[in-house]
Amino acid sequence: MSGFDISVILHALPFLAKGLGLSLALTAVAMIGGLALGLVIAVIRLSRFRFPAMLAALYVNGFRAVPLILVIFWFYFLVPLLLGRPVGALYSVLIAFVMFEGAYYSEIIRAGLKSVRPGQWQAAQASGMTYLQTIRLVVLPQALRKMAPLMVTQGVVLFQDTSLVYVVSLHDFMTSASIVANTQNRIVELYVFAAFVYFAICTTGSVLAQRLSSGRRHAY
């Protein structure tokens, strides 16, 4: 192991790209699914319906109490049991991520909805809008601008967390990098490269988050 050998990376590039693809795809699905699920949970938690609100709170607190790696394990063993047939590691991981991220996103969305001042809710309700219309037309659009940076930040964390899928033998970017590092015995090259890729992607995310929070059309 002498010198910094870039050719190792170039050689392994297709393999690494495949891992990166999985990480990005997992991030995208978990983000979109998690946002949709999170929105539903947040709306239920803020509603007047006590019992569903309680269940939603239980869901959120439950998922936030356990580490993601445990959730991934659960779903890997649980989902096939529930469905009565194997679904494969990828699908069980996708479901685990969406459910897990949904809990976190629901907290961001709930805080965002609550940050819109009560007078806005009252004005909308006074004009005869229903609860869901009030959220959709008046509260959510205002909350979104406040939430956007936090959502992107959560997405960055999520991207980093995709490395946990190695526990069910999936090859995300990090796992692929360490496989190459170990088989080629080129630890420094691969881990420097991996750090660089993570840094580039996460910085892009952070810049995007900053843009979203400062680049509003009308400050309010």
Partner: protein
């Protein structure tokens, strides 16, 4: 038109309204006044059901307001409401503000809603502001647009909660002028305000509240000449002093 019978409400252990009853006829203008914290805002919010109540019955145009807030939405859309802090939707333009409930609650077409909005904007002298955002307007302009937004729903009555108390003094007049004109046109109005000039000019009756109770309901002239309760007398002397 609006009948409130035995309304009581508390926040937790704190009673905010105690057994309040009031009847407001068609075309009548009633001013509600009273010290801070006496429950005036809460009272008007209960009138169209955006605040749930513990006891009492509210009848609007012959229909009893359902106790479930969701079921009250349709009736609520027929009563306009204007807030102390305007509460225009900051993410929407003036035009969009005025059309939102027309389109989504009354199911009007966009063309009809916009025509309605333009006619009303012209009446309050803000025809040139339809594509502005609320933050680009002065407080007085925002409040006049909030009134237009409520009027666009063709309400059978209008509720005002201290519509001028968040305004700079030089803007109060322009908002009161719009309200006076409305009163003259025969709109049924319930107005929480400390603008005694407006009360004298527009109100038929004055309601005086204190500690969550309706202490006194009197003809306007009567109220100013000789309030029958000691508390109202005290309140008036303080408010007319400045």
């Amino acid at each position: 038109m609006i009948r409130i019978e035995g309304l009581s409400k508390s926040y937790g252990d704190l009673p905010v309204l105690r057994n309040c009853s009031l009847e407001v006829g068609r075309g009548e203008v009633v001013v509600i006044c009273g010290p801070s914290g006496s429950g005036k805002s809460t009272f008007v919010k209960c009138m169209n059901g955006i605040e749930p109540v513990q006891a009492g019955r509210i009848t609007i145009d012959g229909e009893v307001l359902p106790s479930k807030p969701a079921a009250a939405a349709r009736i609520r859309s027929r009563v306009g409401m204007v807030f102390q802090h305007f509460e225009l939707y900051p993410h929407l333009t003036v035009m969009e503000n005025i059309c939102l409930a027309q389109i989504h609650v009354l199911k009007r077409g966009r063309g009809e809603a916009e025509a309605k909005a333009r006619a009303l904007l012209r009446r309050v002298g803000l025809a040139d502001k339809e594509s502005a955002y609320p933050t680009q307007l002065s407080g007085g302009q925002q409040q006049r647009i909030a009134i237009v937004r409520a009027l666009a729903m063709d309400p059978i009555a209008m509720l005002f909660d201290e519509p001028t108390s968040a305004l700079d003094p030089e803007m109060i007049g322009e908002v009161l002028a719009v309200m006076l004109e409305l009163a003259r046109e025969g709109m049924t109005m319930i107005v929480v305000t400390h603008e005694m000039g407006f009360a004298k000019a527009a109100a038929g009756r004055i309601v005086f509240m204190d500690h969550g109770e309706i202490v006194e309901v009197a003809e306007t002239q009567h109220f100013f000449a000789q309030p029958s309760s000691e508390r109202a007398r005290l309140f008036l002397s303080r408010i007319l002093a400045h």
